[in-house]
Amino acid sequence: MKFTVDWLKNHLDTKFNNNQIIDKLTNIGLEVESFESSTSELDTFIVAKIINAKTHPNADRLKLCDVDIGGDKTIEVVCGAPNAKNGLLTVYAPPGSIIPKNQMKLSVSKIRGVTSYGMLCSESELQLSNESDGIIELKNNIYANKIGEKYFKNTSEKVLDLSITPNRPDCLGVRGIARDLSAAGAGKLKINKKSKLKYRGNQNINVTIKKEKAQGCTIFGSCLIKGVTNKESPKWLKDKILSLGQKPISAIVDITNYVMFDLNRPLHAYDADKINNEIIVRSSSKGESFEALDNKKYILENDMCVISDRSGVLGLGGIIGGTRSGTEYSTKNILLESAYFLPRSIRKTSKQLNIDTDAKFRFERGIDPLSIEEGLTKASELIKQICGGEISNLDVKKIENYKKTKINFDPFHFEKTTGFNIDNKELIKILEKLGFNVSKNKKILKLVVPSWRPDITQSIDIVEEIVRIKGYEHINTSEPIKIRLKPTLNYYQKLFHFLQRSVASKGYLETVTWSFTDSKINQMFKENDEEIPIVNPISSDLNVLRNSIFPNLIFYLKKNLDRGFKDISLFEIGPVFKGKNPGDQQTVIGAVRAGKVSRLSWNDKERNVDTFDVKKDVIQSLCEAGIDKNDIVIDDKSPSYYHPGKSGGVYQNKNEKKALAYFGEIHPNIIKKLDIKTEGLVIFEICLDHIKESKQKIKDSKSEYKYSDFQKSERDFSFIINKNFKSQELVNLIKSVDEKLIKSVKVFDVFEGENIPNGKKSIAVNVTIQSEEKTLNENDLDNINKLIISLVESKFGAKIRS
């Protein structure tokens, strides 16, 4: 909402200066976005100095000037003026400027083969005089230290721009703003002068509001103004319209706009001679069309509120008028409309047709239904003043009467909500100044809400009005109470933070990427999940919700590789979507590692990152988050975007069906399709929702501390076994021989090839044996050795190597 302070003072008697007014507006909830001079086309012209003027190489009558335009800049301009000479101060117009004389827009151009950046101006070109023989010569003593500054002073009045919240339609007019300011003690609201307007004759164009279920109009007021002379608006009116940031059109249109911004009362002027017989306010039928004042043709749906005559649609009520009945300079007779349209109807129609106008913006928020006559009177008066003509009696048709909103207000509600007390007298004064009618009934205030405040319907709205006007600075600051009702975080929230920092501590950089992604990349990772398209995506490559965390991670990994980084570890923790309903989402960690380990190391051999790097990262992170490593089970099944032979799943224990993590190399096809250039690429993911909370807290689950001081023995075994045999099973089997005595089993060598039969491999394990009761003798140990060997050989068809 834009207006000038002068305009405000038409409605408000105030001693406040501009800064005080701005502060007051902010304090009562009318946020000031800016207070600036409106920009002018003349702002671009600046004072400049010719540093060097030499003859154009290809034209004797032209000059090539180096021009100082302030700052550190000099610019080359081609100039035809005979008086262009070294040291001359003059006016420079940069490319993009519009020359007042001929309204030409300057562009960078070549003049006789030399590029000229802008132009040096004559007085005639700037419409200062008729002098066109040479460029302006500015006086040295005045302008020498103004190089680079604007040549024209911007004399237009500063414009206040308020951001009005959607609940305050009344403040979309200057008078409403003045009323709020007066309630807050910033002055006195001026009383509207009684109109001395004389009406003659009747409004003889018949108006009918059809009684239909979907009728979007309840009041239609109008008057005829006959014998007008439409013309350009006078300067004061033009200035007002310009201050709104709008273009003056003609006196009649400008007046209706002016009244709209002044009183928040939208109006519409028809050329009465173009109306076929009568006005019918009705709901549209599908397929009807009309050409609107924005020069677009609109094809209507059912049940849009239209103003029509016998020939068809004239305009969309409260939204936009049509060209067929629009006013022009030649218009002689006017029908002026002042109506009330229902916000719901306005909103629905404008959404369907995608139209946004100042009138629509206002009706949608709710116009004062009792302002019909005031609008007609004020506009007619101005039209008569400027364009002449005779005004008919006002004709107001209604299909519904306005019902006053009444609220019983208990002043204690104010104190209970705001925490501070206000004197009853002051409270009543504020409400009355805002336009409420207040009467007392014991402790209760009986309020009638002003008709321009559709936002006020209940007691809490009254509390807000009072505290807003009184000032939020009166609210006390109560120190917060440091009592916790329940733990800050639940198990999964803690897990989130643990795992996040745990993964980061393995050398991964955390990133945050969009929850949406490119369906083409998502396709490669979505497995059997349903694709979830966004109806109105921000761009075509962010068009689906991510089914997996990897599409974005891989995309950004590639971007970083393309930047020249080679060894990259990235992870993200966040949601992935499994369906389109609320709650169909899981929290996962996805991590990628690319490149080499020990690249360019002087002491270690460099190698590509591999599956066992990420396996370590994922297992260690899980253990740090509290999962027992001894329970973890690994298998070799993983989603299809992993390398089928170099990836696996992690299970919390042997009874779990759902993997809580996967790790491994990414499928080579994906690397190829996405054209990722790296030496090695391994990934892992953890699904936090699949981690089961332990039933006991650490304080309850710590087992008794036991240790053995008896000597421990280590034995190495080497088995020849089927190539596809999983080492995890071997370890488990050996442990099962005697769970008390066998403390650990560690695979320390795996070997295929020379001396090993085809289809077989050799696995070497180191077994630690220790009793908690005695020192084991050779005999005891031999027995265990034999048991291990016979069990492994018989169960797995393995052979011990000699």
Partner: protein
């Protein structure tokens, strides 16, 4: 006597010249072995007179001590020399680089969420969450923003279906609705999370982060709201004093509503929070609207309280001097390394919010 003295002198001399541990040990057995020279001298003691024996025995013992002492010193001397020599040879260049250090980092948004949670935990708030995909009811209608309300236009919403029933939440406020529907008052929660709006430019990203706050009890008023936010802002920016301004505003789900500005100034091109005469809007808040309480089955005549919503990314930008919001989500390795936080740097009350 002169014999053994001579022997002693000879051997001392010999030992002085010796540099090899084995040879010293040979000398040792030559002297003190079973048939060693000194051992033999001791054997002779039995065959001489008592008087002489006393004297000789004493002399022999002295010589024996002297020689043995010499031998052990010598051995130690040689060994020390050898070790020093060995260590000298083993010397390495310790200025060569260590094995690669892989430094991981926590994203600023995560760090700021942890900081915020830590602060609100101190004053008794617990953390709630809600889904990123919401239904129209929880995101708008329950929050007193019916379909025909112009306030809906302020949220450019991503929809997942043509009926506009399913959407990406435009704010964290639907968590209020979920929390109150599933529990009984009092409520004292914060809800950080991702939020989505379909605009994108230098200062807006289609996804950003908010933290919702909600405190409902029997007598919670605007003074408590002011106190809570005042405490939070001071703690978050780690300053003693904060200039703060509550301005009336409008949100459909709170009434009275306020926007909160904090004072700042620009010093040496950097933004300094808490001083100066410029104002920066950082959050919206207000008393939960009775219509919202009714929608979530809380009796507004018994319970009341406040809610607030804060832009997390924006807070992070202010605190850590980050200029570009879009960079938060662009996964530039250089940016993540530069603005990320050490994973061990966990914000907490007793260790301090930030280093």
């Amino acid at each position: 006597m002169s014999d053994i003295k001579k022997i002693k002198d000879d051997y001392i001399d010999k030992l002085n010249r010796e540099n090899n541990v084995d040879k010293v040990n040979n000398i040792k057995s030559e002297l003190f072995g079973k048939n060693g020279i000194i051992s033999n001298e001791f054997k002779k003691l039995g065959s001489i007179s008592v008087e002489e024996r006393k004297k000789l025995a004493s002399d022999l013992n002295n010589i024996k001590d002297e020689l043995q002492n010499k031998i052990s010193i010598k051995i130690q001397e040689i060994e020390t020399k050898e070790i020093n020599l060995k260590l000298e040879k083993e010397k390495i260049d310790v200025t060569l680089p260590e094995r690669n250090i892989e430094i991981g980092k926590i994203h600023p948004v995560s760090q700021v969420i942890d900081e915020i949670s830590s602060i609100f935990s101190e004053i008794g708030f617990s953390v709630e969450e809600g889904p990123d995909v919401e239904n129209e009811y929880n995101n708008f209608t329950a929050l007193n923003t019916p379909d025909n309300h112009p306030a809906r236009d302020m949220h450019d919403t991503f929809y997942l279906d043509n009926n506009k029933e399913l959407l990406l939440r435009t704010h964290t406020s639907p968590v209020q609705v979920r929390t109150m529907l599933k529990g009984k008052p009092p409520f004292k929660i914060i809800a950080p999370g991702r939020t989505y709006r379909s605009d994108s430019d230098q200062t807006h990203a289609p996804m950003f982060h908010q933290v919702e706050g909600l405190h409902i009890d029997k007598n919670i008023n605007m003074g408590h709201l002011k106190g809570c936010l005042n405490y939070f802002i001071k703690e978050f920016f780690e300053v003693d004093k904060i200039k703060m301004r509550f301005r009336p505003s409008h949100f459909p789900f709170t009434e009275p509503s306020a926007e909160v500005d904090i004072g700042y100034e620009i010093k040496n091109g950097k933004i300094v929070i808490g001083e100066g005469n410029k104002w920066l809007e950082i959050l919206g808040c207000g008393m939960v609207h009775p219509n919202v309480l009714k929608n979530v089955k809380v009796n507004p005549s018994k319970y009341q309280g406040y809610a607030f919503g804060i832009g997390i990314d924006r807070l992070g930008m202010l605190k850590y001097g980050i200029n570009d919001l879009r960079a938060f989500f662009e996964t530039d390795y250089r940016w993540l390394s530069h603005f990320g936080f050490d994973p061990l740097d966990v914000p907490s009350n007793y260790r301090g919010l930030s280093r």
